[in-house]
Point group: C2
Chain length 173, copies 2
């Protein structure tokens, strides 16, 4: 199935010159959603994944499905101030300034194998911060799985020491 | 399995006098997460669900797993300003003032059977607004499934004309 054809392109969102890759048209197509989850899962089904750590908010959609498919636990990685218990924190850079991601400090046990999931990688800042959070509490990053890779931003280069996997690539804006 | 025992109770969060029901301890326990998805899914597996509409952000975790289990499409229901395409909108009341939920106007086709999913019902404002969004575009609310029901707030009473299903109930704060 050509999953890229299921993505809706929205020019100039959220601002002029950016083409937003809208996954909601893929999500609402049951065959496409099912196939996307198949493609994300297949590489990791035999990799003894203990936990799926997914990034708020769209990452939760695929992360929930993948944790269920792999009989793994689910760990939410959220923006600052959303999690109610004690957390570990990691900053990541934005175009202007920075933001902070949090994960509960008891979410992952030392030595657990963690698959990190998000819907899209651009420059890779949030995914790299998430790797940092997993490792800070002693977890092992067993893989990073994203649906969409904006290849022209070369975010993948940040993850040369990890198993990095994307399903749909865009070579230009 | 006693799923309630997997929930972490956090007193005085987000403010004095409120006990926050933290589902992250359930999510990270793979048997508990799997069992919770089983319990949410079992009532609807033979109900010909076309779409799962889940509410941002924690609702996405269970919604993604349920859409995958039921071979349904997934529809995100989000806070104002997050969705990139044309939307339908519905206000819901908060303790002070109101907020707005949005759904893409082409997310659901007329006549499709929709299961609405969230992690928790308090007074039921966001779930009722979501029913309104589904019906505004011609969808049929085939069920409402939540993990946690704060029964003492009587939110369920708003949904007497729907099939409403919760897994864990709290009779008092």
């Amino acid at each position: 199935m050509d999953l890229k054809s299921k993505i809706r392109n929205i020019p100039d969102f959220p601002k002029k010159g950016i083409v937003f890759r809208d996954i909601s048209t893929l999500l609402q197509d049951k065959e496409a959603f099912n196939h996307a989850v198949d493609r994300l899962a297949e590489r990791y089904l035999d990799k003894k994944i203990d936990m799926v750590a997914a990034i708020e908010s769209r990452g939760f959609i695929f992360g929930g499905a993948l944790a269920d498919r792999m009989d793994a636990g689910f760990v939410p990685v959220r923006k600052l101030g959303k999690l109610p218990y004690e957390t570990v924190k990691k900053d990541y850079t934005l175009e202007y300034g920075y933001a902070t991601l949090e994960m509960h400090k008891d979410a992952i046990e030392a030595g657990q194998r963690v698959l990190i999931v998000d819907d899209l990688i651009a420059t890779g800042g949030t995914l790299l911060a998430t790797c940092g959070l997993v490792e800070k509490v002693g977890g092992t990053v067993a893989g990073i799985a994203v649906l969409i890779e904006l290849s022209f931003l070369k975010g993948r280069e940040k993850f040369s020491k990890y198993d990095f996997h994307s399903i749909i690539q865009y070579e230009s804006e």
